[in-house]
């Protein structure tokens, strides 16, 4: 019985580590904590000044598309201040087909200061997309946009790479722990 528990414990640790590693990979993909490719910087949109970043770089068909928006305005002294009561909508449509637009209601960016909003989606096809950011707040409304070239879906099979990496680790582990026979003098 005791041997059974020792076996279970010795297996449980690598299995738990593998599960945690998988969880970490998943969590890493979905989290976005600042940064990204600047698409709009200090662009006037009604009473606001907008800053927009996209990530990952580049967007790929079928993959994640993340948009971060900073909504600011200028106070009487000309100092940039964040707008924290804004309602931000992000519209993404394949070029020339506004009727196929995906509309995201951006939410305040977690773990960040006020005035930052974010939205996530997945884009179905490669090619040019029109991205438009519409902001409304007590001060008024405004919008700004840009064009993004979405790349074809990734051909990389990450599972295959992960399997390959594990195989390499196993080989290194096996040969790395072997003692090298001393050469005859």
């Amino acid at each position: 019985m005791r041997q059974y528990w020792i076996d279970v414990r010795s297996r449980a640790v690598p299995v738990a580590l593998l599960a945690l590693a998988m969880l970490a990979i998943t969590a890493g993909v979905s989290s976005a904590h600042g940064g990204g490719t600047p698409q709009l910087s200090d662009v006037e949109a009604g009473p606001f000044r907008l800053f927009v970043w996209t990530s990952p770089e580049p967007w790929r068909a079928g993959g994640e598309a993340h948009v971060t928006v900073a909504v600011t305005s200028l106070d009487a002294a000309g100092q940039t201040i964040p707008v924290d009561d804004a309602s931000v909508a992000i519209e993404l449509a394949p070029a020339g087909t506004p009727e196929r637009a995906i509309v995201l209601a951006a939410t305040p960016l977690a773990g960040a200061g006020v005035g930052f909003y974010e939205g996530d989606t997945s884009l179905s096809q490669a090619g040019e997309w029109d991205v438009s950011v519409k902001v409304s707040a007590a001060a008024g409304t405004g919008d700004a946009g840009f064009v993004y070239q979405v790349m074809p879906g990734s051909q990389i099979n990450w599972l295959l790479w992960l399997g390959g990496a594990l195989a390499v680790l196993a080989v290194v582990g096996y040969f790395g722990t072997r003692r090298i026979k001393p050469s005859p003098a």
Binding site: R9, S31, T37, P38, S55, P56, T72, G173, R179
Partner: protein, 300 residues
């Protein structure tokens, strides 16, 4: 309240890819520490101060990577510099001071312990590889190359734009710093003859000029070097150039000051050991020798 101070008190972002490894490392150390303490309270491997150093090191990693410092780093060079300094100048040496290797060896299951022992025993490939990369000169060169290389405008801006590059930057900074501090703290596993204290003093002092030159160049640049910061809203009452000036000064002063602190500590240890060494014959003449059974010293 100043907007930067207000932002620093924002909620932390729970990043599982950071939190879970920290919890695993913390748990393994805790198990090993308790096991070693049960064996003997007189051993020097798992002491209270080492435990405090180790967990402070882990906590500083969490502070750098999950607190608002992380997000603010994408808005201000100052905060990005602070984040990097915590990773390389605080977390890495504190974790080494916790003597993690022997303690963790007692915290992992026996098959894993056997595996690690096999990997490091005799003349295995792993041991030969580790011995090669842990030579002080290589540790110094690798860290200095990583540290200065990432401060080039191209990689730095790329890291701010692309998340996986940013993560790679932090991982290489931390691992490079672990390599750099290894011979200084003289942590286990010890694969080389320990560097004498004067050697360690020269080793850390040698890092001051390249760091100071880089920090000085950043602080005194007439143009914004990291152009990414031109594209973010200036919400904290300073221009991108002012931000860069202070950021460069942080890089220059913090790291140099840290190295000088290490030199002072090393000199203190040298004088203490010298004093102890001189006092020993007098003490030995008046007392009987004491043998501590089960005394283990892996990193002292």
């Amino acid at each position: 309240m100043h907007p930067l101070l207000k932002a620093l008190f924002s909620p932390w972002e729970l990043r599982w890819e950071i939190l879970i490894p920290l919890l695993i490392l913390g748990s393994i150390y805790a198990i090993g520490w308790v096991r070693l303490r049960r064996q003997s309270r007189r051993q020097k491997v798992a002491t209270r101060w080492r435990m405090v150093a180790y967990y402070t090191g882990l906590a500083s990693l969490a502070l750098a990577l999950m607190s608002p410092i992380d997000w603010l780093g994408s808005q201000l060079l100052i905060m990005h510099m602070v984040q990097h300094k915590i990773l390389v100048m605080v977390s890495a040496p504190l974790i080494w001071l916790g003597n993690p290797f022997p303690v963790a060896m007692w915290g992992i299951p026996r098959p894993a312990r056997n595996g690690v022992t096999l990997a490091l025993a005799g003349d295995s490939l792993v041991r030969r590889g580790l011995t090669l990369i842990s030579q002080p000169a290589i540790c110094w060169l690798v860290f200095t190359f990583i540290y200065l290389g990432w401060h080039d405008a191209g990689p730095y801006d790329l890291a701010l734009r692309v998340e996986w590059v940013h993560n790679l930057e932090h991982i290489t900074f931390f691992l490079g710093a672990m390599l750099f501090w290894w011979p200084v703290v003289n942590g286990a596993p010890r694969l080389h003859k320990s560097m004498p204290y004067w050697g360690r003093i020269l080793y850390v002092l040698a890092f001051v000029p390249p760091n100071a030159i880089a920090g000085f160049a950043i602080a005194n640049s007439p143009d914004v070097i990291y152009t990414y910061y031109n594209t973010v809203p200036r919400l904290f009452g300073m221009t991108a150039l002012e931000d860069q000036m202070i950021g460069g000064a942080i890089m220059w002063v913090w790291s140099s000051e840290m190295m000088i602190d290490v030199v002072v500590i090393m000199l203190g240890v040298m004088f203490y050991r010298e004093k102890k060494h001189k006092a020993r014959p007098a003490v030995a003449a008046h007392t009987h020798p004491v043998h501590h059974a089960g005394h283990v010293e892996v990193a002292g």
